[in-house]
Symmetry: C2
Subunit: 282 residues, 2 copies
Amino acid sequence: MAQLMDGKAVAARVRAEVKAAVDRLQREHGLTPGLAVVRVGEDPASKVYVNGKKKAAEEVGFNSWELHPAEDITQDALLKLIHQLNEDPAVHGILVQLPLPRHIDPDVIISAVKPEKDADGFHPLNAGNLLLGRPATRACTPFGVMRLLEEIGCEPAGKRAVVVGRSNIVGKPMALMLLQKNATVTICHSKSDLRREVEGADILVVAVGVAELVKGAWIKPGAVVIDVGMNRKPDGKLVGDVEFAPAAERAAYITPVPGGVGPMTIAMLMRNTLEAAERTLR
Amino acid sequence: MAQLMDGKAVAARVRAEVKAAVDRLQREHGLTPGLAVVRVGEDPASKVYVNGKKKAAEEVGFNSWELHPAEDITQDALLKLIHQLNEDPAVHGILVQLPLPRHIDPDVIISAVKPEKDADGFHPLNAGNLLLGRPATRACTPFGVMRLLEEIGCEPAGKRAVVVGRSNIVGKPMALMLLQKNATVTICHSKSDLRREVEGADILVVAVGVAELVKGAWIKPGAVVIDVGMNRKPDGKLVGDVEFAPAAERAAYITPVPGGVGPMTIAMLMRNTLEAAERTLR
């Protein structure tokens, strides 16, 4: 039976590390990191996510602000708001909760956030610096996965890592971070022979949002399985993108859903914001 | 026996397309694309490369300028030169020939080129936009490989593409371009079990700079083999990163070395500069 990778516990540890660093920043430099969260309109899931982020920000000792313009805010007015946050020295991290209303182009908004305040690591300049192996703010979810791997002492070098899903916020940056750690990395998607690729994976990261797409029988014995998915089945049960029970019989390590990758995303957001504040001292 | 992918002929076709577009631009808009090439010091290989680029620029009807500061130019003075080119409306594409002397940080110089004039596609913002699937100026060598694949009617979707090498200028952007065309993409490097990965490749791109590293016997029968390498053997012979003769016995298509990918790089540089000029009309 696989060992569980307890994202909740690791995330709590990351938050405690951030809190200790915040205490030090305040003591030594009188500086309190500040996170501004922009939530447009009334998407109910966004409200839950933003509350989780605000709660974590308070726990680690950040200043935090929620800006909550109405659904019908114009793109120009939202850009103006972003520019104000860009210019505000008390704000070190800016997060624009997605999705945005349909009349607003998310690419335009994400690109408008100053790269050094881009807490999510979504700005093209941060993406580019990640690709080029330069210092960059890293997308929170794959950054959290790397930390989970570290916690179990998994050394990616020379291993075959298979990433299923190629989103801008998980799959593609995940592949690059694993590559940076010297894994042989394969990126799969809907056109791939999924079973074949999964069967060869020493490290498997699945982020597609399709309930139990990856069958337990495909898992290589001894593999490390990271399930980024979170899907609600008709019976109300939350499941990942991997068939958990049969996968857990074959894997060496596996993330539970929920309680695996989810909490790590928010914890790494705190870390990104802390680092943005620290950079202002240099 | 594999069919040869004639990069020289395809590159000539690309240059002819660019020339036709330049003629149209001049006729309809009085606009002549301009390419500025910056060559620092006296690296002999750089001189050869730059001459090839200038020749191609003349052939397609661009204005072109070679700026040739001495080896001991300071980084600040070089930055000032780049800024002048950035501001010059006659210059649409800027290329800084690498390598630069050791006292100059190439990352700083590359980042100083205006992204919209970055003819090489090396600026982090262009890298990031490529990663994110947004419009971007593409690195010339992988962009040229994509054109070679198109020319033979190779459709990457659903195929297994293996990229050997993970440089910023070939391997990583190559992987992203193949991914964008829906290949299942694996990136290999010195820590990989190369033979195993190569044996599974329907499309193989090798860019490591090690003479005949990839053995012909590893090639999957019917594969498309793109050899970006160019190495001089002790006997003076130029060879690629793939053992050519035995690979050609198994592959369906293969690039010769020289005359394969090399000419494509310069042709795509012309195309990038043309597109930069066209963008100024929008």
